[in-house]
Assembly symmetry: D2
Amino acid sequence: MTPTAPAIDLDALRGILGSVVAPWVAELDLQLQQATLGEVRLALPVAPKHVHGGGVLCGQSMMAAADTAMILAICTHLGSFQPMTTVQLQTSFLRPIPGNAGTASVVARVLRMGRKLVFGEIEILDARGELAAHATTTYALV
Amino acid sequence: MTPTAPAIDLDALRGILGSVVAPWVAELDLQLQQATLGEVRLALPVAPKHVHGGGVLCGQSMMAAADTAMILAICTHLGSFQPMTTVQLQTSFLRPIPGNAGTASVVARVLRMGRKLVFGEIEILDARGELAAHATTTYALV
Amino acid sequence: MTPTAPAIDLDALRGILGSVVAPWVAELDLQLQQATLGEVRLALPVAPKHVHGGGVLCGQSMMAAADTAMILAICTHLGSFQPMTTVQLQTSFLRPIPGNAGTASVVARVLRMGRKLVFGEIEILDARGELAAHATTTYALV
Amino acid sequence: MTPTAPAIDLDALRGILGSVVAPWVAELDLQLQQATLGEVRLALPVAPKHVHGGGVLCGQSMMAAADTAMILAICTHLGSFQPMTTVQLQTSFLRPIPGNAGTASVVARVLRMGRKLVFGEIEILDARGELAAHATTTYALV
């Protein structure tokens, strides 16, 4: 299936990323790389401040990145930012990402774009492209 | 049911909180308030850096607080910190916490302490004690 | 906290249980025992047809019972049955229920009754009252 | 990516399906159609006994099908049935499947095959191939 162009361009998505999220979440330093209709890919730098005592990227950073990426994936359908709220987010942690792994990737995908509810999934991939975490989520458009 | 004393004291739990989590998670500024066997209560200050563009405490901070609190709840059984990993964490967001709400509370409770797997639930309460978010989680002891 | 009377009586709830669910789900033979505002308790007989090859109550029956019980818990607020749909349901399985355990209990509780979305949790308890499974769920009122 | 042959043949998988699940789950009448390493596809007939009062396939049947399909997907790695237990299963319901829809499909996929824990996802597709439900799950090998 050929990807369809998003209803919003990359610069506008980057503007949303830069203005909507809380300052603490902005510290994730997520970098938007690609967007098609219903899907975005972001880079998540594995910075020392996100590495816990066990020497791996902490799960809190992965959940935060997943939630944030989904907002942008939804905006590829909406064409602009509109108020929305996370109803639930479930994350499974499959394999650790070493603290010196460089950059992880976050791929957020809309599975179902309803009028009121949106369902999506998010993959966190390590630098080799292996699945490190997988999340599913429901958003409500408000 | 009268709470049972934890297998570890508050100062030791605070030491774990101060040494195990990633620096970015430490910025949540979680304050341990109470601990009994299988349950901990922490204060989560609703600081401006955790408030998103909609004016409420961001979900990312609540998920991170939930995950972090659970580590301490598990340590009340273990008696000390031992390596563990989050297998999955599911969070539902029930009501927003306003950005000027002062302090939220995080209560993490072990539902089942297995030898290898631990199940728990976490409540995030707003300043009035209303349930704002509810999470369930599985940890693996490694 | 003293329980508040439900907005619907037990007979009406039993009528809903008997008329709304699919015939296959009716085979769970759930028996409504108690209802207060926002909470119901049902008996789940551990019948041989719900026991899998490992000799324990199958998880499928527990998930089905949880989902079904939640409908009734929501009706204790609504006062009658109204169309609703499960948005998501997450179940954790904490300990097995032996196939000869007699009767399990299902307690469904509304955590947040919104106008459009309802959040709840469900406990499945074995015959001794130990927590065997724990579920959280979101329903949409339609 | 070319699918790899499963470590077990279709007949053996059908034998597992026929012998391991509880009699009530066998009433789902799931039919194994395909298996590759880490992935199985089954047909789920939308029979009247699985249709609830709203005229659509009930969610309980979809959750039960998802859980059951995952066992077979795991066996494509194991090469035979081995004792395992569902740790948790999270299902999101995206669109209803009409009660006269004929046959739904269930695709279960192993996302991560660990030594002790297995992570997977399951899609329930309606007769047109649209995603109706999506589940993620953790199994423990015992």
